[in-house]
Symmetry: C4
Subunit: 289 residues, 4 copies
């Protein structure tokens, strides 16, 4: 019996953790390496947040996917392997966490391939990719297809998995969204200036629980993105646990690793294919700035 991409569940939940460490801050400028407080703020992610989250996933019995920039995996040998050993998926999250939309031609490819090489050298099987900052270029999906990966998770064109066609073949897109990301709720740094008000974890629990329930009603993919340097903090980790337990109590939400979901989605012939080309926007109508 073919039950489609959801496997018969009301909704599928993919818990994803972007283990960015220092990379997204350094991507704002190399001099941030001199900011000891900020660097320690970022190091908290792999050093304290990841172990706490791994324990939480053990206790709740839920598999997850960890997107890691190659530079982070390289700087912390053993990090990716420890995550895989706990039963989770490690996926490609660029090499340097610089956003593709800000790169010169050729740079994105080089950065992508350097990341792939790091994971290959560490013996980590890579099934999918997520663009830094969720700022994919139109080439990003092509690189994903070209390297034989199953899925990308950087676009926002739907709230269910969909197919994207590239010159190098098809890719399954597991779409993300800013409202299912802990960054906009919790992140704060004075320099580089990031964030504004820091939100209460209870607000975040309310918002994500409501979205999960609504997604179960509409048959969607609850693709949640957390950062260990943010959600690894005590009360935020507990909120994540409460969210998982809420989903488990519902009984109709299935937790999956992204790679497993991508395989299941690829087998669903009813999956929508969404156009993947720049809008036909004339510079006369929309002038350059």
């Amino acid at each position: 019996m073919n039950t489609g991409w959801t496997g018969g569940a009301a909704a599928v939940a993919t818990l994803t953790f972007d283990v960015d460490a220092e990379a997204p801050i350094l991507a704002h400028g190399h001099h941030y390496a001199e900011h000891a407080s900020t660097m320690s703020h970022q190091a908290y992610g792999p050093d304290v947040g990841v172990p706490r989250i791994l324990d939480l996933l053990d206790v709740t019995g839920v598999p997850a996917t960890f997107f890691i920039p190659g530079w982070v995996a390289e700087a912390r040998p053993g990090l990716a392997a420890r995550i895989v050993a706990r039963g989770h998926e490690v996926a490609h999250h660029s090499y340097s966490h610089r956003p593709p939309t800000g790169m010169a031609p050729g740079e994105e490819r080089a950065d992508f391939e350097r990341g792939m090489e790091v994971f290959a050298a560490q013996g980590i099987e890579i099934l999918g990719h997520r663009a830094a900052n969720w700022e994919a270029s139109w080439e990003t999906a092509t690189l994903v297809a070209e390297h034989g990966l199953l899925y990308d998770s950087s676009l926002m064109g739907d709230d269910r998995p969909y197919r994207v066609t590239t010159v190098a073949g098809g890719v399954t897109e597991l779409p993300v969204h800013w409202s299912l990301d802990d960054w906009e709720q919790y992140a704060f740094l004075p320099s580089p200036h990031v964030g504004s008000v820091i939100e209460s974890p209870r607000k975040v629990l309310e918002m994500w629980t409501d979205e999960l329930d609504a997604m179960a009603q509409f048959g969607c993919l609850f693709n949640l993105t957390n950062h260990p340097f943010l959600t690894g903090r005590p009360s935020r980790a507990i909120v994540l646990r409460k969210l998982i337990e809420h989903a488990q109590e519902r009984g109709d939400v299935r937790f999956m690793r992204c790679g497993d979901l991508a395989r299941q989605a690829a087998a669903d012939e009813t999956l929508a294919t969404r156009p993947h080309i720049p809008p036909a926007a004339s510079p006369e109508v929309f002038p350059p700035r």
Copy 2:
């Protein structure tokens, strides 16, 4: 019996949806067309949000008004017609979604007329207009009057419909307000930088329900603006449904399309006329910057 612009209701509710798609982002600069994630984030509006909202309006039995930039209607042939076929009004929302206040002389007129031509070519009857970004110039209402439209919906000089006099004749203004807009609550993009914290739909439901109840007390127009790329998301759509159901349970709030309300308001001789001229502000008192 003349019951005035409200038709005897305690308040009138006009649900409006600005189907902006990629246009407001491209209006920040043509190069954003290269940002695949951001473009997909915007495409979600017409592709996923609009169908979900149309279903929601069917289920609740409420008519609505969809403001569409001409460029969006052109890029997605059939979109406007499908909305009209479901019983709703389609209205003019500029051609390019560039704000009139940032245009050179003549540009606003050209943009306005190009939008009118798109809808004419698609056989869509246009009764009213809303300026991009709610950043009308003093010429905007003149263009609306000159083209024989019934109403404009871009100003904020009252919370009840009012008359505006222009050199080309009178226009009924259906005023808007930032607090009845989903953009300030939900929008977030890193580049162009849009928004800060993303709010919980429950907060938005609370705020809009309170405003609707207060408006029923004061006899106002509850002119709500939602963007399908924002409010089309699952839990936000459900909050919109709860808001509609709250209004229906009150029993004294009437849902109308903007065009129907504009006709009813035009027949109300007690409607206020508000001055529509720039303030007498000397550059000596308020220096240019």
Copy 3:
């Protein structure tokens, strides 16, 4: 019996309304006069907000103080007089609403005096002053003293009235604070860019009620600042009414006009005098930028 500046109440509440209209926006640059939507957004204050607030004050029986820039009083003849006729105080809020801290030498004095002349010409008695944007210079209080006014309401050095000594004599300060201002909660404009998230009136009611209760415990001045273009909106006006009713139900909070309070405070010999001079900050320690 001398009961001090509170007159024996647990706390004194001064409701103040800054009727700024278009002035604070034009102070960002003269070209904003061309922004029709924004100008209408500001005109809502005197045109719709003020009448609604005056009715609300009548119903609750509470006297208030309206700070009006001279330019606004001039542009809307009769506005100040109508407010006075309803039993409220009108006070000086600069001429142009440009902040003193941004003015060249002499400019602040000229602006201050031009405002005084407008009110004199309209026969409005002026007892006090509030600096535009609460950005007073060290000269501001001197101007207040020199013109024989009783009080200033622009500083934040205490949460009880205090004395300030200037070369032109003493002034009673009725201190303000950002947390008792509706601007940070409600204001939003895209251009000039003002505000971020728009808050729910229920949150504001909670925050201000808690502060009023705490101030009654500590014996403070609850000096609330609202802007009619913001708090004149329906559900916000209702929240203001609920706040007033909460204070009235307490029974130990006294509502006063600022001028009446300033007289009562001036007679309190125990009132603190706070230093009113720039900090001794060497440019070697704090370099110019």
Copy 4:
């Protein structure tokens, strides 16, 4: 019996108050000394906030630590001594509150030593240090070790005390975090532009109570940072009292001064040592900006 750094408690709470007064504003540029409203806003901290907080600590019987910039202690002789006389610790918070990350070589050392001299001249024993803005350089901890202090409290690499090794010897780090700071919740100034929405103290109480409870579950250091010019306001002070009372009712949270905790932590041989060196970030991977 060695009960480790917590002394057997479920969590340790260090209440810390950064008595910054005008310094962090002047650090944005010397000309802010001319802004009378803003200077009074900052003076409220030592003048009104500190006495209120000292009373609150007396009533609840809790010892605390006050971090004071040397310039502030110098400008207000007796301030530090009065705090010590009430049973609290005074600690070093730079001289000028300019962040080390923005300083030229040698400047940080000079600023650090000038602060030490102020406290020495006032007979205040200094046990620890906190960098201005929590923007420590990699040299900061070295300066702390070199001057024989017990602890630093500027880094964020853990939520439990940890050891940092420097060329001048070891330092105990009592880590801080943006989410346990009142600045991001309450601070607002128009110029220099600081903050956005001002949050309700009830939200802050909820968030900090939840974090305290979660930290008691994970065995962490609840290192709370408040600023008297912010949390000294009436309803915020009451919220701080409620938080303290919540912790006291739990019965398993121990309140300590930072110096006392640092001694206890230094004696815990199981305390983690975290690396304290810049990340190996090549400028080819992360270009300068």
